[in-house]
């Protein structure tokens, strides 16, 4: 992209002077400055001048080649489409199982489990903080018995499952492995993903249980366990989604998420693992917000940053360690309760950005999610949105269709540069765990979140139907209402379980877990025994709370 005789800068200056200025005198632009949704200023026009310093072979290169800006697959979506993975879960395991059967029948190609808050927080439904929470935001899973119900009639050998679980990830993963074993599926061939990303919980979503350091140990234990026993499993999905939902900018999402990724790699290396033994099973999870080009640039920059960091910072030799694979979910935070049908359009555009950015798997939100969990109908429209992009728009015919656009390449480079700057700051603090302990990323996100809300308040940023184009006579839509039936069922089951299982065996396995937690063994081993004895998520987490204590944050406003 190097220019020759007539320098691009001269041409752009002449155009500004001779063409733009007279136009501006007649009709000024709508605003003094144009910015992305993240507040990044955007120029009027991008030309060869903006990409003059970029060397195509070195900095961008072709798809399937280092540093993978244009994608990790040489053939893009011409070979395989992204996985259409719709996140779902509510009520009892049986109700969620039914939703999965529907999604598989509708052409969904992967499952994605949403757990309820008690499960996510490692509490059994009879704990006082679980009041009104059982089965509300996801499915309630208390013990192996619930996991058996959740996957009844679904062959774990034939489907990949993503599980959004963090603090209790080892317990839930152990349950999944035992169900696979019961079905006769081979641990060596089953595949799926556990989110297992605790750092973003401290930064954004706040579903933490244990302090950062023992939490990091649970994660490296899973890395080590899977490298040997479940080699096709994606052991972590390092997530920017929640950081963005908490109000970060696009750049902060990118920088903090990848820096979290580096932290996990460092802890894995420090635990004695070889980079190329576990990094190929790491995956990522990004948000797709409404600013179309900024999001596309973010995904392209992510691949480059990761590839270069793995190669240069960690000396990874396996190309699979260099290749960043990621899931995307459209931005829940962008959905409006007002005029909810507009959310279909928002989601479609966000999904298109993810596809143009080369996502490997995608969840599209349903139109009613600012109001409730989606109904069966709205969840189907969300899946159909992906199918329309995949099969009707033609965007899948070519790899990285926006590559070479002056604007996209410049924006991609800006995202890379901005990320490296954040990394310098965090490295200077000693790493991400230390930065989190100081509240640095939390403070950055809180600030961006407040700035954005103020911009909306001042109408500098328009949200259709919310601060402009408001409709007074809106009619409410039908939403999914989750009553307390699931809670009643699960509470009854919990009491029954404690009467029918071998409680002495449960006690023994929990003691063994505590012993390993106090020492240095791999926690997955005693956890599998606890699970087989039908110990509950709450009991297993309590055992570890006893050893490691609980994390309490100092809130940053």
């Amino acid at each position: 992209m190097k220019s020759v005789a007539d320098p691009a800068s001269t041409r752009k200056n002449r155009w500004e002077r001779e063409v733009v200025e007279p136009t501006l005198r007649k009709s000024p632009e709508r605003k003094g400055t144009f910015t992305t949704i993240s507040g990044r200023p955007i120029e009027r026009l991008y030309t060869a001048q903006d990409v003059a310093a970029i060397d195509y072979d070195r900095d961008i290169n072709n798809p399937g080649e280092f540093p993978y800006v244009r994608g990790i697959h040489p053939t893009g979506y011409r070979g395989k489409l992204w996985t259409m993975r719709q996140f779902a879960g509510f009520g009892t395991p049986e109700e969620t199982n039914q939703r999965y059967q529907d999604l598989i029948a509708a052409g969904g190609t992967g499952l994605s489990v949403a757990f309820d808050l008690p499960t996510l927080m490692g509490r059994d439904p009879d704990h006082e903080l679980c009041l009104g929470e059982v089965g509300k935001c996801g499915v309630s899973i208390m013990s192996l018995a619930d996991m058996e119900r959740l996957f009844a009639g679904i062959s774990l050998a034939d489907i990949t499952t993503s599980m959004t679980i963090n603090s209790p990830a080892p317990m839930i993963f152990a349950m999944y492995l035992v169900v696979a074993e019961q079905q006769g599926a081979d641990w060596k061939t089953i595949s799926g993903t556990i989110q297992n990303d605790i750092l973003k919980e401290f930064i954004a979503q706040k579903e933490y249980i244990f302090p950062p350091r023992p939490s990091m140990r649970l994660i490296t234990d899973i890395f080590a366990f899977c490298a040997k026993e479940v080699p096709k499993w994606n052991t972590i999905s390092v997530s920017g989604y929640h950081i963005r939902e908490a109000g970060s900018t696009s750049l902060q999402e990118l920088a903090f998420t990848l820096r979290d990724g580096l932290e996990y790699v460092q802890y894995g290396v420090d635990a004695g693992l070889d980079v190329d033994d576990f990094v190929p099973r790491m995956s990522f999870f990004f948000n797709s917000h409404s600013d179309f080009f900024e999001e596309i640039a973010k995904y392209r920059a992510a691949r480059k940053l990761w590839a270069e960091a793995m190669k240069n910072r960690f000396g990874a030799k396996n190309p699979r360690s260099w290749q960043l694979r990621f899931h995307t979910q459209t931005a829940g935070v962008s959905l409006t309760a007002q005029q909810p049908y507009n959310n279909v359009v928002r989601t479609a555009l966000q999904a298109l950005a993810a596809v143009l950015g080369g996502t490997n798997s995608l969840h599209t939100n349903s139109l009613d999610e600012a109001l409730a969990l989606p109904t069966r109908e709205t969840a189907t429209i969300a899946l159909r949105t992906q199918q329309i992009i995949a099969h009707e728009t033609g965007v899948t015919n070519v790899v990285d269709p926006l590559g070479g656009s002056y604007f996209i390449e410049k924006l991609t480079q800006d995202m890379v540069d901005g990320t490296l700057k954040y990394w310098d700051t965090i490295d200077g603090m000693g790493g991400m765990v230390e930065a989190i302990e100081r509240g640095y990323p939390q403070q950055e996100v809180a600030e961006s979140s407040y700035q954005f809300q103020q911009a909306v308040e001042r109408k500098e940023k328009i949200i259709v139907g919310v601060n402009d184009f408001i409709q007074a006579d809106e009619r409410p839509i039908e939403i999914l209402y989750i009553d307390d039936t699931a809670s009643d069922v699960q509470l009854k089951r919990l009491a029954e379980l404690k009467q029918t299982r071998d409680n002495e065996c449960v006690r023994r396995t929990l003691e063994a877990l505590k012993a390993v937690a106090k020492g240095h063994g791999n926690t997955m081993v005693p956890l599998l025994d606890c699970v087989r004895a039908y110990a509950t998520v709450g009991e297993m987490c309590d055992a570890l709370r006893e050893v490691w204590g609980e994390y309490e944050e100092v809130p940053v406003i």
């Binding site: 679980c130 009104g132 908490a246 935070v333 409006t336 600012a370 809180a446 407040y450 308040e457």
Partner: protein
């Protein structure tokens, strides 16, 4: 000079999604109110105790998980027990329409769903907070 309105902003239940609670806490503070943010995972008992200790005029609950029909009645009941019946309770979050009449009947009238402007919430609280003597 009138005294500042004192507001306790609380996140009850297990949910950790605190963007809304924090943005509102800061907006109310910038609007000149005295804001106490409790942090996450507060039981109704903890929230009412905080309101009592902080001499709060208003309690703002942020609930996105669907647990509001369990948490709100308990908070209202405890306030009455402690003689804090005049503390104004407002909630923000994902609140289905069908629950509005029931919440109103409990004495909760300030209910703010996603998309509500910060100014609207500031104005509502300024107009409805109990009068300090």
């Amino acid at each position: 000079m009138s005294q500042k309105i004192r507001v306790v902003i609380a996140k009850p239940g297990l949910d950790g999604h605190d963007r809304g609670a924090k943005v509102i806490a800061r907006a109310l503070r910038d609007a000149g109110m005295e804001v106490i943010y409790t942090g996450l995972r507060q039981t109704p008992e903890m929230i009412v105790t905080a309101a009592l200790q902080e001499d709060a005029d208003v309690i703002g609950l942020s609930i996105l998980s669907g647990a509001h029909m369990h948490i709100c009645p308990r908070v209202m009941e405890l306030l009455k027990e402690k003689g804090l019946g005049d503390v104004q309770v407002v909630i923000g979050g994902i609140i289905p329409d069908v629950d509005l009449p029931k919440l109103n009947a409990m004495g909760i009238r300030g209910i703010f769903i996603p998309g509500t402007s910060m100014q609207h919430i500031i104005d509502y609280i300024s107009a409805n907070a109990r009068v300090r003597v």
